[in-house]
Symmetry: C2
Subunit: 254 residues, 2 copies
Amino acid sequence: MTVLPPNPPAPTCPAIVLVRPQLGQNIGAVARAMLNFGFTDLRLVQPRDGWPNADAGPSAAGADAVIDQARVFDSLGEAVGDCHLTLGTAMTTRDMIRRVTSPAGAVAEMQALPSRSALVFGPERTGLTRDDLLACHAICTIPSNPDFGSLNLAQAVAVLGYAWVVGQDTPAASLMVNHDGPAAQAELSGLIAALEARLSENGWYNPAPGLAETSRRMLVNIFTRPGFTGAEVQFLRGVVRSLATPRSQRQDRG
Amino acid sequence: MTVLPPNPPAPTCPAIVLVRPQLGQNIGAVARAMLNFGFTDLRLVQPRDGWPNADAGPSAAGADAVIDQARVFDSLGEAVGDCHLTLGTAMTTRDMIRRVTSPAGAVAEMQALPSRSALVFGPERTGLTRDDLLACHAICTIPSNPDFGSLNLAQAVAVLGYAWVVGQDTPAASLMVNHDGPAAQAELSGLIAALEARLSENGWYNPAPGLAETSRRMLVNIFTRPGFTGAEVQFLRGVVRSLATPRSQRQDRG
């Protein structure tokens, strides 16, 4: 007997997160593309020219509700703190061990989740950095001409919006079962921060130039990539706590 | 620019692992189905009637080389110790958080790996247990009639063998990039054993009936499911060691 997961509830549209967007005009065009496909949750991380931005209105072309409700954050981590699946759009993997999926694959994953997901887009000129991508569970690459592959920001949002609408009835090739979705990003960040604090206390980080940073990135990648659930993140916090409890204090645990 | 992984080398055929097989006749039929699709690496875990088994020869129908080279192991862990991707065939997920894939999906994953993988099949009557599945990175379910879904052991092997041949040219929907494949099972087992030993020393396991076992299973699942690479497994061993080093011993690390 093939075990199929129960029908998921109607999927929640993803938040669209723009990291360090440069031009107000592009932010407006993104808002328009979002509303074209039913998305309304726009989040801005450190917009270069501040917010609100008068240049956004005209290109939003009537998507004023999206512009008006847009929220500004100081960091990508804060922007996706309540999101359970964070997919970063990028054309390169920055040499990290990462899962790369297509727009259709990204949509299938987001639509299988009962909770909020996020699609993250980098600045117009440079795209997402390696540190931005570390905060994402996987990378979504839009197939494009290898010789001329850089998409306009709003057009990239439109491609994902279109894939969302098309994907409503497409089944996924591989499914995680009995999984209520990855933990909210804020919970995961808490685990990683606790782990880093304990390791730092114990002198784990190599003081040689660059090595601590490499270790920190590997740690974040290892704990972000699997998409651990909220219960698993809590379980791992207990594991970290217990590992870091010296034998001499064992009686504290009863 | 879309970043594609380099062309993989010719894929290594998976080991076929039969866990506690009951009938010698079925083992022979499996050997035949294996050779039909070019597989030769047969591994038996605790075959009920011992090994060699005179009943295997006739149904092998000429696949004597597979029978002659079959190896016997005391546990599933030992049988897949050198395998870097272990997929358990099952019709149910035993309520674990696990990734479930189709035969085509399983084949795509195995063919993307440069190293040895394993396809694990349970006993004829009961299939793989929950503990067997814990040793597997993911579950492969063969689509079948929900009202009459139990496949003959050798036929299940044949379906996977056929999928292997068909899959030679099918691209995967989602790919892990910059990933040299999950660590060999023996390395992963070493990490989990070290982690369990430290946690046990620190009194982590709840003595109430059943709770320690539940925690143990969750720990194995959490560290098996992600498919950490060999380098990541080594990194995590260092993390565990450092976490478990009390502050008073910090000077040991220099």
